[in-house]
Structures are given as C-alpha cells and as structure tokens.
C-alpha cells in the first residue's frame, strides 16, 4: 500500500490511484479540474519523500526544483509514502474588476491581481474561487496592460462559467495561480511565418500572442484564423480588423461553418488553414488553442504537413472531469 500525508494525517491510496483521487475520496479538499495533467489546478508540493518525475511533467524547472507536482498525475509505488502540502504559496489574491458579454455565450472577465503577475501573453492561469473551485483560463491581455483579461465561454451547466456570468460582481475576491504553458511568442526569427488558429474562446491566447508578436516587431506574415459555428460566435471582429489595417503582415481570417459573407469565410478551419500552407512549411511556427478535438486534429494535420513538433504550440482546453468519470469528459 502507498500512502500520502497531509497536515499530520496519513491517507492510504488504492493500487493505481492518484494522490488527487485518493485525497478527494477521503474527503480532503484539493483544487482540481481536468484530472489529466493539463490545467495545473491540482498543484501540490512534496514536503518529504520522493515525487515521481511523471508527476512533474510540464512544470517549470523552478517549480520542479521546489518539489511541486500535479496531484492528478501522481501515483506512488507500493509501500512508499509522500508527505505533501497545498500550493497556497503560489497563489496571488486578485479582484474581479469587470464582467462583460462579448457574444451570447462568451464573457470578458477583467482581473486585477494584488501583486503584478509575471507572464507571457498567451499563457494560462488557474482561477480559484473563495471555496476552492478551480478552473484554468488563457490570458488575452499583454503583460504591460493593467488588467488581466480572460475570455470565458458559458458552458451549459458550467460551475465556474455560470458563476462568472450570473453571480460574480466587480470587487469579488478570487485567487490566481500560474502562469503556465508554452503557448507564447518567442522573439528571434522575426521573419518566420506564424500560424495562429483556434475556435471559440481559443481566440483569447491567440489575441495576446498576435499583439505581442506585432509589438515585438515581428516582420514575417502572421495568420490568425478564428472559427465559430455561425457569425454570432465571432468576437473582437472590429478590433482585429483595425489591427490588420495597421499591420500589413497581419492577416485576420474569421471563419464560420455556416452563414459566411461580409469578410467572414465559410468552411472548416482546417480546410481554410490548408489553403495558406506552402508545400514545405520550413521555419513556420503554429499556435493552436481551444476546443480539444479541434486542437488535436489540427496539430496532427500540421505535423503530417511537415511542421516539426517543437514548432507547434498547442493548448487544448480540457474540460473538468469528475473523479470516476471518463477521462475525456468532452466525448
């Protein structure tokens, strides 16, 4: 039997059970959402004992060095014990400053952290409500801007998104953890063609990355494909058109599955992306964000089209998965 210790109590783990599932099963509150190693909301810190390296995959080196790990990815070898603590030290208190409706089901949430957050445009943070409910969201803002900006899709029956839409008021106290993720612009090869593609609120990080790249003097072509089911699902259209008018190398390509026209293309985002790719996309870099199936499918298509894996930065917005539930709640 393996076991895990929290605040002076040892909790036994069942064979193959993760630290997160074992603690939740025995009534210990640990923030969590995807249970698949993608959102980083279940971060904990090892205090004594060995943290398995697989539980630290995707974490920044500075966090690894301080024994932080993802509880949902942490399975302990039989007969071993691990003493852990929560990740309170990594959290910054913040205040919601505004909640606006961008489309019928997308909200813009503005936040002001108590201490400045050191992040790169396009990374994501975990938003924690006072009761410990945790969900991750990509940052649409730039580090030089005063407020953090999130784009949150209202999921039917969604706990966090429903609360943000209906109950959260300006002034509300929350906490932030992060930033995390490697979906951000890296200066260097400033002539490299950049492909940014996402559907729905996948635009949030892409909006940040596009503006960041342009401000850092990127000279290569920058294609932003934003897809929605129908025109009502697109947002920031005028803002992005103005940005395109000011930068000749920025190509904004909004698209919908039905009801196109008036500068909005009709078709699948994958088919449209394919029309701009050269035969050999040498030196291209891609940023893919949003809906899980869409991101994974496009990532595979780009790899097959010749992109190197290290040049594809992808953030799939994995939904929350309840303990005992299917691994991909999005099926």
């Amino acid at each position: 039997m393996a076991r895990v210790k929290v605040e002076s109590t040892w909790y036994p783990l069942e064979p193959e059970e993760s630290v997160l599932d074992g603690l939740l099963r025995q009534g210990v509150a640990v923030p969590h959402s995807c249970r698949a190693g993608a959102c980083q909301s279940c971060m904990m810190r090892g205090v004594a004992g060995n943290v398995p390296p697989t539980a630290q995959s995707g974490l920044k080196d500075t966090l690894k060095a301080r024994s932080y790990f993802l509880a949902c990815m942490c399975k302990l070898p039989e007969g071993t014990g691990l003493e852990v603590a929560g990740a309170q030290d990594l959290r910054v208190p913040a205040r919601i400053t505004a909640v606006e409706q961008l489309t019928a089901d997308v909200l813009r949430v503005s936040l002001e952290p108590e201490a400045p957050l050191d992040y790169r445009a396009g990374q994501y943070i975990t938003l924690l409500r006072a009761d410990g409910l945790a969900r991750s969201y990509s940052l649409a803002s730039l580090p030089r801007e005063k407020h953090l900006e999130l784009h949150v899709r209202q999921v039917p029956g969604g706990t966090m998104s429903g609360w943000l839409a209906r109950e959260a008021r300006p002034g509300e106290q929350v906490a932030l953890q992060g930033p995390a993720g490697d979906c951000f612009y890296v200066p260097g090869a400033s002539e490299a063609p950049l492909l940014l593609a996402g559907t729905g609120t996948g635009l949030a990080p892409l909006y940040g990355i596009a503006r960041d790249a342009l401000e850092q003097g990127h000279t290569g072509p920058l294609f932003l494909f934003h897809g929605a089911r129908e025109p009502g699902g697109l947002y920031l259209v005028e803002t992005l058109r103005e940005l395109a008018a000011r930068h000749a190398n920025f190509h904004y390509r909004p698209n919908v599955l039905c009801g196109g026209g008036d500068g909005v293309e009709e078709g699948s985002i994958e088919a449209l992306v394919r029309t701009i790719l050269p035969k050999r996309p040498l030196g291209w870099r891609a940023y893919l964000c949003g809906n899980v199936e869409g991101v994974l499918s496009l990532r595979k298509k780009l790899f097959l089209a010749g992109f190197s894996l290290k040049d594809i930065h992808a953030d799939a917005f994995l939904p929350s998965t309840p303990p005992g539930g299917p691994l991909a709640g999005a099926a």
Binding site: L296, R299, K300, F303, L304, S308, L309, A328
Partner: protein, 121 residues
Amino acid sequence: MSSVYEQLGGEPAMAAAVELFYRKVLADDRISHYFEDVDMDRQAAKQKAFLTMVCGGPSHYSGKDMREGHRHLVKRGLNDIHFNAVAEHLQGTLEELGVSADLVRQVMAVAEGARADVLNR
C-alpha cells in the same frame, strides 16, 4: 565496430529520425490507430525509444519487456501485417537519412529478431 546508433550520430540523430518515422506511421491507415495518443510528445518519446533500440543505442528493454509492452496491442489485433508496415517505415526512414544499405540491413535484422516478442508468439 560501433553501432548504427553511433554511426548515425547518436541521440540528436534519433530526434530527427523520430519525426520522419512518426509522420510515416501516422499517415499509414493500416497502423495509425495504434499511435493516436492524445499526447503527441509522449508518443514521439516512445518512437525514439523504439528507434534507439533497433539501432543499437543505449536501451534497457528485454524481450520480456517487448512482450508485455505490446500485449495490449496484440489483444487489439496486432499481427504480421502491422509489423511489416512498421518495418517498412523503419527502412524508409533510414534510407531517407542516407544510411548505407549495409547498415539498413543490420537494423532490419535486429527488428526482425523482435517479431516473436512483439507479436507475443
């Protein structure tokens, strides 16, 4: 004599070979379904382990590991057709990298030697 792994250029060469090989495998409908991991980086790491092993690089897999590692795939119908397809792409990858015919033959012999274990026979 040094291994094919060393002659190819060691670890960095494997990293380059992985992308070529993985692309061929994913584009082949006969076998792609075995490799559709949600996490492409993790899959790529496994392909690297495969290439390192057959090229005689530092590898610690035993025949027993090969049996166990592929048992769940055999349950899903893994057979000679799939094995031959993987072997074909392995050969194609090495040839594309300019490996001499002699060395390619060596690697293919190592791969062939793993057939019984991989297919759990």
